[in-house]
Assembly symmetry: none
Homo-oligomer: 208 residues x 4
Amino acid sequence: MPKQKADEQTIILEALKLFRKKSYFNTSMSDIASACGLQKGSLYHYFPSKEDLMKRVIKMVHEFFKTNVFSHAYDKSLSPQKRLENLFISAEKVFLDEERGNLLGNIGVETALMAPEFNTLVQRFFLDFFHAVKTIYLDKYPEKIATELAERSVAEIEGSLMFSRVFNDHNYLKNTIKRVLNRLEKNTDPAKSEKDVTSLKAVGSIIG
Amino acid sequence: MPKQKADEQTIILEALKLFRKKSYFNTSMSDIASACGLQKGSLYHYFPSKEDLMKRVIKMVHEFFKTNVFSHAYDKSLSPQKRLENLFISAEKVFLDEERGNLLGNIGVETALMAPEFNTLVQRFFLDFFHAVKTIYLDKYPEKIATELAERSVAEIEGSLMFSRVFNDHNYLKNTIKRVLNRLEKNTDPAKSEKDVTSLKAVGSIIG
Amino acid sequence: MPKQKADEQTIILEALKLFRKKSYFNTSMSDIASACGLQKGSLYHYFPSKEDLMKRVIKMVHEFFKTNVFSHAYDKSLSPQKRLENLFISAEKVFLDEERGNLLGNIGVETALMAPEFNTLVQRFFLDFFHAVKTIYLDKYPEKIATELAERSVAEIEGSLMFSRVFNDHNYLKNTIKRVLNRLEKNTDPAKSEKDVTSLKAVGSIIG
Amino acid sequence: MPKQKADEQTIILEALKLFRKKSYFNTSMSDIASACGLQKGSLYHYFPSKEDLMKRVIKMVHEFFKTNVFSHAYDKSLSPQKRLENLFISAEKVFLDEERGNLLGNIGVETALMAPEFNTLVQRFFLDFFHAVKTIYLDKYPEKIATELAERSVAEIEGSLMFSRVFNDHNYLKNTIKRVLNRLEKNTDPAKSEKDVTSLKAVGSIIG
DNA sequence: AATGAATGAGAATTCATTCAT
DNA sequence: AATGAATGAATTCTCATTCAT
């Protein structure tokens, strides 16, 4: 007789919202249940434990980024500049979005301290992030440089995302993304990039 | 039994270690007490609440950075390059140190979601961090640029620090610090900087 | 284990017994839980806090008095004397009963010192008590006198109830109730009451 | 070297104030200590335990009443009416006084539920109270009646004192005291009392 | 599928009390 | 005499989890 009141996806999404707003430890299964219009006990029909639910949340965010953000990196029909733009602009939208936003950047780190399983998932997310960005840079730069540029860009974005949260000011992230995009553009300038990219040294001055 | 077993400083330090290792929410007053060789009730002799203890921890870390890290920015007897070097190298040491390390970067963010009082303290820390770095850049760049460079450098450092923790690999942070230092050096090169820094446009390509 | 072991009413009743026997502050949620055959955590399934439970206890006692004691005052089919008798005799039974007895008289006062919310509930109880008794007196006396007589009767009863508890002797209360009932009867005596009640002055000597 | 900062009397008085304001259970030794400008531990120089301190408080209140209130009953140089007046007027003053006020009436009862030793002390207080009032009535009435009148007067006073606290309105007590005094006066009226007091029956209608 | 009851392990906190200095 | 540190038991409350219906 009991009619289905919720489905996995809904629960994961509600959990995500709460984890983002109140952190993993401060969100109780009860909180999640009421957000879904369910009773505490009912969550255990869908997820064997809170930890497992968190893992599903992380994976869901990861999938979302793969489909909606990282994918832009691999659209060979567009210029590197355009791809990077698409990637970061969509990332910005997601990060600053209340629903799916920055879970992994900040909370991921903390939860990682607890369950090593979380850590692995968070690592995978960032490896994919790095890979996507690096793929774009590889169009312009050699392997080593592209790797560094990618890690650096993502680090800058994550750091400024943190500031956006701490100072409750979206501009930290927005400006950083503008800057990162600008960087590729500038160095895309044929005249300039030729000189700059020829030697590792020269490039060093750009990425550093 | 009524012989002093611990003092405020010790407790704050032990709490810091645990908060760093297991996160604020995952660390119980019991944990902290045992780490200090005390009974949990005894902690309340020194701190009225866990929240208050956390605030003291944050303040202590902040003070530590002021004295040991940020101070390098204001040593006018040294060159900007040297000051930045001293600042970041000492920051690196502290961040990667098990004892006093990166509390504010990661845990601060999460706890900030809860108690607004935490948030204020974390903000103050980063404002001081920004200010120190900016002070150095002001020797070379105009106000606006210096501000942006400072925020960007700190964001990069915080982001890569996060990666260092997530991937358990100090190199993320170390490389970033190397790179940031290199950046100033390069642009300090008289020959190059003349061209680059003369116009705001040119500088734009450097900082972002 | 998830078979219902207790219900709200049972818990409230057990709490009442304990609050009466050991006072509110001296009764722990653990005590109440054991009395109900429950684990202490389970109480929070029914009541969000001890304070809330106490409020429910007070309300339950109040309801009980309304239904079983005060109601007698409003039974217009009976003589005032009979109504007062029913009211006080039933009150006596309840007050001296181990289960539901005098919670509000004594404990109400102490708890009232703490939570103003308790105070309001205790006030309401006594206002209803006054009102019921006054309603009966209004059959014989004008407003002002009836009010005074009611407050005085209830005060006497509460005071002697206190003595009954302090001296562990039911007779303090029993004698007082006998006396109060006698008072109405005597003054109901037509021959006597005519003189006594004709002037306010005369009545004054009766109620005071 | 440590200079005496407080003495027993001061501590007892401060404790009394707090017990009255916040109840015995809600007052901590710490509260009492700070009210005395002492440290928690120092209280144990004067009193072996909180319970013991409470006993001393009760005894002190009792002594105070003996000297300042009950004593009026035994001043044979005055008329019964005047003695009763002195007794109740001084009682009223003390009861409504913030400092020494109604400890025994309300809190005594509750604490009595705990330690039987408290109960004995509270009983003694009321027995003395009864005795004083009865002594006055004995000037006018036979033993049995005097006893009843005394118990009744004190019960009324205690009950209305409770109402004064619950409703935060001094008038409950004040009016009751006026009425009780009036009662003796009225029945002291030679013309009236002669008739009334001749038979127990008649008197019954007065005291009841 | 959903629920609502129950659990039990632990959380933070309080507090009377002890005792070395 | 006074203190301040320490204690440890108790208290309120939380919460992930289980399970019979």
